[in-house]
C-alpha cells in the first residue's frame, strides 16, 4: 500500500519538477522586457480609455509617453482628460519638461430649447440621435439643431454631459470635461465643437449651427443665428467670420470683450459659464436695430425680459394642416377593423393593425 503511494508521489513529483524546469527555461528565453516606467505612467493616467489623446487607450498613451521622453520631450502629447496636471506628473516621473497645453472643452452649439424652438412633429422611433437624424429633420423646423436623443451623453466616459429635461438639450459640466472629443464624434449633426478656452474655461461661442437664411432660421428658432453680421462689425480683433448665414468666432483671436454678445440681435452669442443674455421681445427695437447698426449699444438697455419666462410663438403657417385638428383636442378614434384573411391563405395568421408596429411609423404628428 505504502509502496503505491510512494511511487505515485515520486512519479508526480518528477513530472512536476520537469515541467517546472521547462516552464522556467521557456519563461527566461521568451521574456518580454517592458519598461517599468510604462506601468507607472499608466497608473498616473485617468484610465478612461476615451481615445482623446489619439491612441486607442491609456496604455497606448503610456507607451507613447515613455518613447517620447526617451527622445527628449513630451511636447506633442496631451491627455485631454487628465489635463496639464496629469501631464506634469508624467513629465516629472520621466524627468522631462511638459508643455502647457491650452484647455479645450466640448461646447454644444445649439440653444434650441423647447421654449425657443417650437416642436411641430413628434418623433417616436428608437431613442438614438443617428436614427432620428436619418429619419427626418427633427421634431422642429430646424434641420441643423440638436435632436435631443442623448448620443453624446452615452458617449461621455466622464459623466460630463447630462440631458436637461426642461430644455431638452444636453449640458456640459466644464469642471469634468477635458475635451476628449468622444461626444463630438457621436453627434450626427456636428453640433458639438471641441473648443479652445482660456484658463477659467470660458470663451465666446455662437450657440447655433443653422445655415438657413435668416428668415427661415428665425422661424424655426428664436435664438437662431441669422447671419446678419453685426457681431463681425463690432468685433475689434477680426475674430468673427460669417459663412453660410452663420457666424463663427475664432477662439484664438477672440479677446473676450463681449461686444459681439451685446450686438447679437437674436442672443445666439454667449460667454461660456456666464448667464445668457436675455432674449428681446420688443419688436420695435429689433426693427430699429435691423435698420441701423449704430443703435446696437442702445438695445441692451431697452425692454428685455427674463430668459426663463415663456415665449409665445405664433405660427402663421403650420407645417401640417392636421395640426389644427389635433390642437382642438376632440379625437374620436374609429374602431380598428379586424383584418380578415381570405380563404386561400389558411396557414397565414390574422393580424390587427393596432397590435404590431410597422417600421414606417417613425414620425408622429405633433400636438
Amino acid at each position: 500500500m505504502i509502496e503505491v503511494i510512494l511511487i505515485t508521489v515520486a512519479v508526480l513529483g518528477t513530472i512536476g519538477l520537469v515541467a517546472a524546469l521547462v516552464l522556467f527555461i521557456i519563461a527566461k528565453l521568451f521574456t518580454v522586457k517592458e519598461d517599468p516606467r510604462i506601468a507607472q505612467v499608466n497608473e498616473l493616467l485617468p484610465g478612461a480609455n476615451c481615445g482623446g489623446c489619439g491612441f486607442p487607450g491609456c496604455s497606448g498613451m503610456a507607451v507613447a509617453c515613455v518613447k517620447a521622453a526617451d527622445e527628449g520631450s513630451l511636447e506633442d502629447l496631451k491627455c485631454p482628460a487628465g489635463g496639464n496636471e496629469c501631464m506634469k506628473q508624467i513629465a516629472a516621473l520621466l524627468g522631462v519638461e511638459a508643455k502647457e497645453h491650452a484647455a479645450k472643452v466640448a461646447v454644444i452649439r445649439c440653444n434650441g430649447t423647447c421654449e425657443n424652438r417650437p416642436h411641430v412633429i413628434k418623433y417616436d422611433g428608437a431613442l438614438n440621435c443617428r436614427i432620428a437624424h436619418s429619419t427626418c429633420q427633427g421634431e422642429t423646423l430646424c434641420q441643423y439643431g440638436c435632436l435631443g436623443c442623448g448620443d453624446c451623453v452615452s458617449a461621455c466616459s466622464f459623466g460630463a454631459i447630462k440631458m436637461n429635461t426642461e430644455t431638452g438639450l444636453p449640458e456640459v459640466d466644464y469642471d469634468k470635461c477635458g475635451g476628449c472629443g468622444s461626444c463630438a464624434k457621436s453627434c450626427p449633426r456636428n453640433i458639438i465643437e471641441i473648443r479652445l478656452v482660456d484658463k477659467d474655461k470660458t470663451g465666446m461661442v455662437v450657440e447655433c449651427v443653422n445655415k438657413d437664411k435668416g428668415a427661415v432660421a428665425k422661424k424655426a428658432c428664436l435664438t437662431a443665428c441669422i447671419g446678419c453680421g453685426k457681431c463681425a462689425q463690432v468685433c475689434g480683433s477680426d475674430a468673427i467670420t460669417i459663412e453660410n448665414n452663420l457666424a463663427y468666432i475664432d477662439a484664438e483671436k477672440c479677446t473676450l470683450c463681449r461686444a459681439c454678445e451685446e450686438a447679437c440681435p437674436s442672443a445666439s452669442i454667449i460667454m461660456l459659464g456666464k448667464p445668457r443674455k436675455e432674449i428681446k421681445k420688443n419688436n420695435a427695437t429689433a426693427k430699429k436695430a435691423d435698420s441701423n447698426t449704430n443703435t446696437v449699444k442702445e438695445i441692451k438697455t431697452t425692454n428685455v425680459r427674463p430668459y426663463s419666462s415663456p415665449i409665445k410663438i405664433s405660427f402663421e403657417a403650420p407645417l401640417l394642416p392636421s395640426q389644427q385638428y389635433l390642437l382642438a383636442g376632440v379625437v374620436d378614434l374609429t374602431p380598428i377593423a379586424q383584418a380578415t384573411v381570405s380563404d386561400n391563405q389558411q396557414n397565414s395568421k390574422t393580424h390587427s393593425y393596432d397590435a404590431p408596429l410597422l417600421p414606417s411609423q417613425q414620425i408622429l404628428l405633433g400636438k
Binding site: L357, L358, L364
Partner: protein, 447 residues
C-alpha cells in the same frame, strides 16, 4: 402555388381602394420637382427663374450615368429654384413651376390608340434603352433606380428572363393592380419592349393571388404573346423584393451583395415601369405622370389617381374627402416600407406609389420591452438573417460583428419588426448598423 422559400409574413391586406377606378387628378396650382427623385446623383436644373415650360419639356438633366432626367409635367413659368421638404424629411433643391394652362409638347402622341412592336419593326435594342434613358424613367415601385442602368447589364452577365414585378405585396397599395386592370395591353407591349431591350425571349409577369381579376385579364391578353407567361404567386410579404421575386418565379437565389439580380439571369422591372416604357418608346411621352393610391381607414373615399408629378399630396388627399380628424401619420408608400412624412405639401415624385393616412391608433408605437428570444424575427426574415442579433449589436456599436452577421444583405422589409411581440425597434437599429457598415466598407475600399 409559387412563392419564395425563406421567411415572409402576411399582414392584413387592407386593399381599400382596389375597386376604385383610376381617376385623373386635377392640375396643381404650383408644381414642385425635387432634383433628387432617384437613386444616384441628383439631376442638374437646366431652367431658370422666369422660363416658360411646356408639358414634357426637360427641366433638369441627368448628372452622370446613374441619374435620370426630370421633365415638367405642367405648362407654365418657373417660379423659383429653392429648397423643398421631400420624402427624406429634409429640405432639398427643387424646381417650382407656376401652372398656366395645359400646353403639351407637339412631339408627344396623346391618342389612346395601341401601338404594338409589330407596328414599329425598325426599333433596335439600343433605340429602346436610349429612349428609356431620354424619358427619365426610373423604377416605379418605389426604389427609383434609373431604368436604363438596369437595361444595360454588365457585359459578363447574360440575362435570360425579364420578370415584371406586379406582386404589390405592400398592404393598402392598389396602384399596380388598377393599372393592370385598365391598361393590360400597354403593359404587355411594354414587356415585349423590355425583353427586346435586353435581348431575351422569355418574360414573366408575377402577380399575387389576391388580385384574381388582374390575373384573369392579364392571362387573356397575354395569350396573344407566346413568350410572356403570367405567374400566380401566393400572397406573402415581401414578395415584391427583387431577390424574393426571382426565387419565387424562377427558383434561383441571388448571391450576397454586391452581386446583382442579373448575375442569375433575371432582369426585374415593376409593372408601372413597363407601362412607362411603353409610353416613352411608342408614344414619345417622358415620365410625367404616375398612378398613386391615396388610402387609409379613416379616409372618406380611398382612390387611385393618375397624377402629374409635382402635385402636392394635400391636393390628392382633398380629392379623397380631406384629411381625417384623427390623422396620426401620413406615410409615403406602403405601411411596411414607406416613410412617415413631415408635411402634406410634399410633392408626388417618380417613386410615390401611395399616400397612406394612418389614424392615431394605427400610428402610435408601443413602448419597447426586452427581447424574449422567441425567434419570431428569425422565422420572418426573408433573407435568413438574425434580426434580434443585428439590432442588439448595432445598439452596442459592435460594427465588426454586425458586418460579420451579413447586415448588408438586409432588404429593410420590416418583417422582423412587424412580428416582434416585444415591440422592439429592430429595423431602426438594423438600418443604423447597415448604413454604418456600408460606410466602413466604402472607406476601406477607397483606402
Amino acid at each position: 402555388m409559387k412563392t419564395f422559400r425563406i421567411g415572409g409574413i402576411h399582414p392584413a391586406e387592407n386593399k381599400l381602394s382596389a375597386t376604385s377606378p383610376i381617376k385623373v387628378a386635377e392640375l396643381p396650382k404650383i408644381a414642385v420637382f425635387p432634383l433628387a427623385q432617384h437613386i444616384g446623383a441628383p439631376a442638374k436644373a437646366i431652367v431658370q427663374k422666369g422660363d416658360k415650360v411646356k408639358v414634357g419639356q426637360m427641366i433638369a438633366e441627368a448628372n452622370g450615368f446613374v441619374s435620370a432626367h426630370i421633365f415638367s409635367s405642367v405648362s407654365g413659368t418657373v417660379l423659383k429654384i429653392d429648397n423643398a421638404i421631400d420624402a427624406s424629411g429634409y429640405g432639398k433643391p427643387a424646381i417650382y413651376i407656376t401652372v398656366e394652362g395645359d400646353e403639351w409638347l407637339e412631339s408627344i402622341d396623346r391618342t389612346p390608340q395601341l401601338i404594338t412592336i409589330k407596328d414599329k419593326p425598325e426599333l433596335t435594342d439600343k433605340d429602346i434603352v436610349e429612349k428609356v434613358k431620354n424619358a427619365g424613367i426610373v423604377g416605379m415601385g418605389g426604389a427609383c433606380f434609373p431604368c436604363h442602368v438596369k437595361l444595360s447589364p454588365p457585359p459578363e452577365t447574360k440575362p435570360e428572363w425579364v420578370i415584371i414585378n406586379a406582386a404589390e405585396c405592400e398592404p393598402y397599395l392598389t396602384a399596380d393592380h388598377r393599372l393592370m386592370l385598365e391598361h393590360a395591353d400597354e403593359i404587355l407591349v411594354g414587356v415585349t419592349l423590355l425583353m427586346k431591350a435586353v435581348n431575351v425571349n422569355k418574360g414573366y409577369v408575377a402577380i399575387e393571388k389576391n388580385k384574381a381579376d388582374a390575373i384573369k385579364i392579364m392571362q387573356e391578353k397575354a395569350s396573344a404573346y407566346d413568350n410572356i407567361e403570367i405567374v400566380t404567386l401566393k400572397t406573402k410579404y415581401p414578395q415584391g423584393g427583387e431577390k424574393q421575386l426571382i426565387d419565387a418565379v424562377v427558383s434561383r437565389q441571388v448571391p450576397a451583395p454586391p452581386a446583382l439580380p442579373v448575375s442569375v439571369g433575371a432582369i426585374i422591372q415593376n409593372v408601372g415601369t413597363a407601362y412607362a416604357v411603353y409610353e416613352a418608346v411608342m408614344k414619345n411621352k417622358p415620365l410625367i405622370e404616375r398612378i398613386v393610391t391615396v388610402t387609409g381607414k379613416s379616409l372618406k373615399s380611398p382612390s387611385n389617381f393618375l397624377t402629374r408629378l409635382g402635385t402636392p399630396m394635400s391636393q390628392l388627399i382633398d380629392a379623397c374627402g380631406g384629411l381625417p380628424e384623427d390623422t396620426g401619420k401620413i406615410i409615403g408608400g406602403g405601411p411596411m416600407m414607406g416613410k412617415a412624412l413631415l408635411s402634406t405639401e410634399i410633392p408626388i415624385c417618380k417613386g410615390s406609389s401611395g399616400v397612406l393616412i394612418m389614424n392615431e391608433k394605427e400610428a402610435s408605437r408601443t413602448e419597447p420591452q426586452n427581447c424574449i428570444r422567441c425567434g419570431k424575427c428569425v422565422d420572418a426574415c426573408p433573407m435568413g438573417l438574425e434580426p434580434y442579433l443585428l439590432s442588439d449589436c448595432s445598439e452596442l456599436k459592435l460594427w465588426e460583428r454586425v458586418e460579420k452577421e451579413d447586415v448588408t444583405s438586409c432588404i429593410e422589409c420590416g418583417s422582423c419588426q412587424y412580428t416582434c411581440p416585444a415591440y422592439r425597434p429592430l429595423l431602426d437599429y438594423i438600418r443604423l448598423g447597415k448604413t454604418t457598415v456600408m460606410g466602413i466598407i466604402r472607406s476601406r475600399n477607397t483606402k
